[in-house]
């Protein structure tokens, strides 16, 4: 609930004036709808009495009929304005929320990033933001406007008729709202959370079934996995049933409230007419007001049924938006210290400690059996994690304590699994914002032996393809390497850079990189024997 407030406050803050205007228009729409029916009822009843008494000629027909027409057109205009204004504000708030969400994710620690990539967290995040458009549009505004309209109607009815008539109209409707909120307001949260969880389980388990179908079939486990999916689906159905029951219950209670208000207004109003305490036209007006007010309660059912889903989404989005981590710190680089220094480093406590330094123009290969810690060490040198045993230093400073901007400026890193963004070959190189002319870009792609591909694809303005999927694995790695050396880093770390390339290509790429960065300290993790020729030194881990 607190998270919903957070989202609502942000939505309102994104465009406070339009939201206030939108809220006023929403109330105006409802009030005009109530007034339209109320005045109409008063008008025809009064006209009926005047006609019967033969005093029709004296009856002022102009003002009521003009009022009716004005209300009809005014209501329509107000409705249009309200929708445009509130949607605009909501979209603005959601756009800002997405940006903040991305900013929050960008500062996540390495482990969090890995988990995001592996799981369905992303799917959920996108869906969450989408679910939040209802917080203002389907929850706060209709409910707030509904309550205000009821109160305004109460006030006008007391003024025009009497307390008993006014209460007969409004009290049953307000009572219905109170009962709904008391019964379902809180109870609605749980099934929504449960449904969301079950839905995630269905997706994950189904994904497993489809992605591993060969494994499951060979091991005779397909039936088990299918039951596993279906059991999650049944939980989802049960939770949905419960949510449906809540929505249906809400509808039942609100329509009972409106029907009671209608019957009571007829009984109380016309009893007053019989006692000559009230005129028939005003009694008829009260009846039609009761009818029209019912419309203000209609959004309640949908709001209650969506409440849980929204609260759930709001909670996660708030957490992720608030998670913007501070810049790690202010460790100062000392340009006289060794460019890279590894001291007494061990992957595990019982390994032999490793120490080495790398200077300008040197190439070092880390070699180890898989699982030997090559990737871990490179990640620590890149400042993505702190070492558990021993120390790593870049220009004398611990990389994970250095200001992010300074470190990224001097250090390039090609991780084992890289992702290319959609865009052109040129855009890929200027991702970080560097300015570069075409000749420089072409020579960069030449350094990683992609000149031919570039020509074949149609030059720098050709698209790389969505997430690089028109390229082979080896080509993708080479684009990623070109991207990393485009910033002219002083230090370059590469994790298995030649994986998926034949020997000739691997040779051309490693030579090209060295030529492009003659002064850089380069550290390569590789298990390929043939790569070792390019190294000044090979450091075995473990």
């Amino acid at each position: 609930m607190r998270a919903m407030w957070f989202i609502l406050r942000r939505t309102v803050a994104s465009a406070p004036k339009s939201i206030i205007a939108g809220a006023l228009l929403t109330v105006a729409v409802l009030l005009m709808g109530v007034a339209l029916l109320g005045v109409s009822g008063w008008f025809i009843t009064a006209a009926g009495i005047a006609g019967l008494a033969g005093s029709g000629v004296l009856f002022d027909v102009f003002r009521p009929s003009a009022g009716v027409r004005f209300l009809a057109i005014g209501r329509t205009a107000a409705r249009y304005g309200e929708r445009v204004v509130t949607h605009e504000a909501t979209l603005r708030a959601l756009a800002a929320l997405r940006v903040d969400l991305l900013a929050g994710l960008m500062t996540r620690p390495l482990r969090g990033i890995e988990r995001l990539r592996a799981g369905s967290a992303l799917n959920r995040m996108v869906a969450d933001v989408d679910a939040l458009d209802g917080v203002l549009l389907r929850l706060a505004l209709p409910l707030g406007a509904g309550v205000l309209t009821q109160l305004a109607a109460l006030w006008v009815l007391v003024w025009l008729t009497s307390w008993p008539v006014a209460l007969a109209v409004v009290a049953p409707q307000i009572a219905a709202v109170v009962v709904v909120v008391a019964m379902f307001g809180r109870a609605g949260l749980k099934p929504a959370t449960r449904a969301e969880r079950a839905l995630q389980a269905v997706r994950k388990r189904a994904y497993d079934l489809f992605a591993a179908r060969a494994d499951l079939t060979v091991y005779g486990a397909m039936g088990r996995q299918r039951d596993h999916v279906m059991s999650a689906a049944r939980r989802l159905d049960d939770a949905q049933d419960k949510q449906d029951r809540i929505e249906r219950g809400t509808r039942l209670l609100t329509s009972l409230g409106v029907q009671t208000s209608l019957a009571l207004s007829v009984y109380v109003g016309f009893t007053a007419v019989a006692e000559r305490a009230l005129s028939a036209p005003l009694a008829m007006m009260a009846v039609l007001v009761a009818l029209a007010l019912g419309e203000s309660l209609m959004p309640l059912a949908r709001a209650v049924s969506e409440l849980g889903r929204m609260a759930d989404a709001a909670r996660r989005v708030q957490r992720d938006v608030m998670a913007v981590a501070p810049d790690p710190g202010a460790a100062q680089a000392d340009l006289s210290a060794p460019m890279i220094e590894v001291r007494d480093w061990r992957l595990r406590g019982d390994d032999a400690p490793i120490s080495f330094t790398v200077g300008a123009g040197e190439t070092v290969i880390l070699s180890a059996a898989s699982g030997g810690g090559k990737t871990t060490l490179l990640g620590q040198l890149a400042g993505l994690a702190a070492p558990t045993h021993g120390a790593v230093r870049i220009y004398g400073a611990a990389p994970d304590k250095m200001p992010e901007a300074v470190l990224r400026d001097m250090l390039g890193y090609v991780p084992q699994r890289t992702v290319l963004l959609s865009g052109t070959f040129a855009e890929t190189l200027t991702l970080a914002g560097g300015e570069m002319d075409n000749a420089a870009m072409q020579s960069l792609y030449g350094s990683v032996d992609l000149s031919q591909l570039l020509v074949a694809r149609g030059g720098l303005d050709a698209p790389v393809g969505v997430a690089g999927d028109t390229l082979s694995g080896g080509q993708r790695r080479r684009v990623a390497i070109a991207r990393a050396i485009s910033c002219k880093p002083m230090i370059l770390l590469m994790d298995e850079p030649t994986e998926g390339m034949d020997q000739a290509t691997a040779k051309a790429v490693l030579e090209g990189v060295r030529k492009a960065l003659p002064e850089a300290a380069i550290v390569i993790a590789s298990h390929r024997q043939s790569d070792r020729r390019f190294a000044d030194r090979v450091i075995p881990l473990r």
Partner: protein, 549 residues
């Protein structure tokens, strides 16, 4: 193509009982309106007897309406559940017998959230659509019966309701489709950036990417608003006509009662009862239309899902042999023969030389990547039907009847590992549900990956990401080898066991496979590792036979 999709598209189901209840509930309003009209007429005539029974009658009718709606929504809710469950079962049962199909993510999305979109359409759009088709027509007849002028007002204000609702629907559908596209592209953009988080970070590109994203999000918002403005305009027309309809009715009735208008009735002047009654039913003439336009979005999404389902149904895919369920293993295989095996892959046919492998022998399937090595392993496992020739095990043909028992004795190491949700141990136990921890550890040791698993945060209990996050590619693959060993089959189908491994580890894996062979296991190995191929007793290579017609 589009037409074809339409004819085979599944339709949303209907429920006659619920529909009858919904229509009845709407029409009961006529009774309520009549009661209120009598009350007003009585009040003006100075004859206000029986207010209490009248109020009670009104309440009873109102209660019935609420009850009927409640009953109908209950039936619809149950029907929605049945519908979604039926589609889910259909997709799951069909897909679990296919070897290859659409991308797992797409199918999982269809099975999870997309099918869920049918629910709101059944619950909300169904009733609204039904009421639009029935209620206005009845009210129109009733209005004409009371006064032809009143009927005319409704007819003019809701000009040709089907056309009108189609107009609204078209505009709204177009708008929501375009808006959905916009939203989707923003979502794609976000997801692409999130999947590249690490890259963006190490490139120092965060600020710039964030700025780009902000600009795109803003442009998209503006475009979405342009579309929405048009959509709102259309529904505003609907609002305008319904408000004006009520207003015109009020003015006509008022002036008639005053005697200023003398036409519009079938003879006698309009009575007060008729006037009040007509005013009361006027808003309900328009209510279903508004209800329907509010639910249009639900229908648009449901239609998209139904179209996707139809497309899925049309897609052809090979089915596996057998049922893919647990079975008693056949007697230990002593001989596997391929006789003239040809397999269709896309529009190619791949053929394989005849060969017979005995227990204690290893068969290498060699060839460039993409030549059809993995395809043969799939056919031997009964995951793919052969287009010609025979796969014979111990003299018995591999068929639907024999496939499950044959597979129960297989060990299987796929080319790209996929880990199921759950711990390493649960994944290892896939083919041996009863294996204990020590057996699992032994299998890991044999596959040369025990130390790495022990080093994981929770050891055997660690939960791996789908592609084995936290492990290197080679480690992940060796866990699938351990899984095959634990399954204890005497026949092992292994796909590229030494790819992605450093020389030292590859050597260890080769030695272990040799050991298995020496202990009497039959091995079928797809590989392009020369050292591994050389160590096998037999070797075959797939040939591209011809392009299929």
């Amino acid at each position: 193509m589009t037409r074809k999709t339409k004819t085979s598209a599944a339709k949303l189901p209907r429920d006659p009982a619920a529909e009858a209840a919904l229509v009845l509930s709407s029409l009961l309003w006529l009774g309520q309106a009549a009661l209120i009209a009598s009350c007003v007429a009585g009040a003006i005539a100075g004859d206000l007897a029986g207010l209490l029974p009248l109020g009670a009658g009104l309440l009873a009718l109102g209660g019935m309406r609420a009850g009927l709606d409640f009953f109908a929504s209950g039936r619809l809710s149950a029907m929605a559940r049945r519908t979604v469950a039926a589609y889910r079962t259909e997709v799951l049962n069909t897909e679990s017998r296919r070897h290859q199909s659409q991308s797992p993510a797409v199918l999982a999305g269809l099975l999870a959230e997309k099918l869920e979109m049918l629910r709101p359409a059944i619950l909300r759009y169904g009733p609204a659509g039904l009421r639009v088709r029935t209620v206005p027509l009845v009210l129109l007849v009733v209005a004409f019966w009371q006064s032809w002028a009143a009927g005319l007002i409704l007819l003019v204000a809701g000009p040709l309701i089907p056309l009108f609702s189609a107009l609204v629907g078209m505009a709204a559908q177009q708008a929501s489709a375009r808006q959905l596209d916009q939203m989707a592209s923003l979502g794609t953009m976000l997801s692409e950036r999130v999947s590249a988080l690490l890259d963006l970070r190490v490139l120092g590109a965060q600020t710039r990417v964030l700025d780009q994203f902000r600009t795109s999000a803003d442009t998209l918002r503006k475009r979405t608003m342009e579309v929405l403005r048009i959509a709102f305009l259309t529904s505003t027309v609907l609002e305008l006509f319904s408000s004006l309809g009520v207003a015109m009715m009020a003015v006509y009735v008022g002036f008639s009662l005053l005697g200023e208008i003398g036409f519009g009735t079938w003879g006698a002047p309009l009575s007060i009862w008729s006037g009040v009654f007509l005013l009361l039913i006027a808003p309900d003439f328009f209510a279903p239309l508004r209800e329907m336009s509010a639910a249009w979005h639900d229908r648009a999404s449901a239609n998209a899902v139904l179209a996707e389902l139809a497309q899925w149904r049309e897609a052809q895919a090979d089915t596996i042999l057998g049922n893919a369920d647990a079975a008693k293993p056949a007697a230990a295989a002593s001989e596997l023969s391929l006789k003239g095996v040809r397999i269709r892959r896309g529009d190619q046919i791949i053929s394989y030389p005849d060969v017979t492998v005995a227990a204690g022998q290893a068969l290498a399937v060699s060839g460039a990547s993409g030549a059809g090595k993995s395809t043969l392993l799939a056919a031997i496992a009964g995951l793919l039907p052969v287009a010609g020739g025979q796969v014979v095990v111990n003299g018995t043909l591999l068929t639907d009847e024999t496939a499950d028992a044959w597979r129960a004795g297989l060990g299987w190491m796929p080319q790209s590992p996929h880990f199921l949700e759950g711990s390493v141990l649960a994944n290892l136990r896939l083919g041996a549900p009863d294996a204990d921890r020590s057996a699992a550890m032994r299998a890991l040791e044999d596959a040369g990956v025990a130390a790495q698993v022990v080093a994981l945060p929770k050891g055997l209990g660690t939960s791996l990401g789908t592609s084995g996050a936290g492990l290197s590619g080679g480690e992940a693959r060796r866990i699938t080898l351990a899984r095959a060993l634990l399954a204890g089959g005497k026949v092992l189908l292994v796909d590229e066991p030494t790819a992605d491994l450093d020389e030292e580890t590859a050597q260890a894996v080769r030695q272990h496979l040799q050991g298995l062979r020496a202990s009497g296991a039959m091995l079928v190995i797809a590989s392009h590792d020369p050292a591994l191929i050389a160590a096998c007793d037999l070797q075959i290579a797939p040939e591209l036979a011809e392009a299929a017609a």
